[in-house]
């Protein structure tokens, strides 16, 4: 097991990108119940804005969307370094998928997705790939005062 300071915790912020309101509501509900922080975007443009403003451990991405689709969003992520870009889990109902660079995505789940399988996959992806977040509060480096001086 990798060493990890006690005062650091895994980043559990997830961005769900899907144009279907009900899918976004569903994913937000089930992932929040598992303790993740979930934000949503309706298309690639909104997602890019949010990716520029916050750091996410995982992006759950629908490929077929209006405005900017999932493929275009992935192309935008290509320029980022492996460590800087978020991991991407693809959800798709499409049968004829365009080729996607395998290092850009961690997994692909077909629609209709099994909700439990999706939650387990997300949990696995987060555990395996999430970068460490900086501690919210600076660690206390002062030595404890002895309660009694000898």
């Amino acid at each position: 097991m990798a060493w990890r300071p006690q005062n650091m915790r895994l980043e559990t912020r997830i961005l769900v990108v899907d144009d279907d309101d009900a899918i976004r509501a569903l994913l937000r509900t089930v992932l929040r119940r598992r303790g993740f922080v979930v934000e949503t975007a309706r298309n690639g443009i909104e997602a890019l804005e949010q990716l520029g403003a916050s750091r996410y451990a995982l992006v759950v991405l629908d490929l077929m969307m209006p405005e900017m689709n999932g493929y275009d969003l992935l192309r935008n992520l290509e320029d980022q370094s492996f460590t800087a870009r978020p991991r991407v889990l693809i959800l798709t109902a499409g049968l004829n998928l365009q080729p996607v660079r395998s290092d850009l995505i961690v997994a692909c789940l077909p629609k209709p997705f099994d909700i439990d399988l999706l939650v387990d996959t997300v949990t696995g992806c987060i555990g395996a790939t999430a970068p460490l977040r900086q501690p919210d509060v600076a660690p206390d480096t002062t030595l404890p005062m002895p309660s009694r001086l000898n």
Partner: protein, 148 residues
């Protein structure tokens, strides 16, 4: 017209159906149930449902969904299939929106139903539906109104 989103539970197992109805009818939604595919099709073609929760292990459930999507292509209904976790039968993504495995976590399902039902866009030309089962049950429990 009732402004609450309407949900249809399609389940042939009496115990599960009644349990789901009992849990969901206390949510701010209108709930109907169907014990068979035939009954479900009758309801789904005469009412606008924001959400249908359907046990796809049930006899002719997939046929019901296929027929429903064919008969009402304009419907914006979100469909959650409930099935045995070991099942790997193909479900058409054009028909089913998401899949939930049995055994069900009832509180998760109730929250999902509540969250999803409210964001499904209402139909442009809504059908004139009769009162829902949950509405009728509530009226029955309140008893008749007696004027003084």
């Amino acid at each position: 017209m009732n402004s609450e989103p309407r949900v249809l539970i399609v389940e042939s197992n009496d115990i599960l159906r009644v349990m789901l109805f009992t849990v969901l009818r206390h949510q701010p939604i209108a709930v109907d149930t169907a014990a068979s595919a035939e009954e479900a099709l009758k309801r789904a073609t005469s009412c606008d449902y924001a959400l249908i929760v359907v046990d796809t292990d049930m006899s002719e459930a997939v046929e019901f969904l296929t027929r429903f999507r064919a008969d009402r292509p304009e419907a914006t209904t979100f469909i959650i299939a409930v099935r045995d976790g070991r099942s790997d039968a193909f479900l058409d993504p054009e028909i089913v929106s998401a899949v939930l495995s049995k055994p069900l976590e009832i509180d998760t399902l109730a929250e999902l139903v509540r969250e999803c039902a409210f964001v499904v866009p209402p139909p442009e030309d809504p059908l004139n539906c009769p009162p829902s089962e949950s509405e009728l049950r509530m009226k029955m429990e309140r008893g008749p109104y007696i004027a003084n």
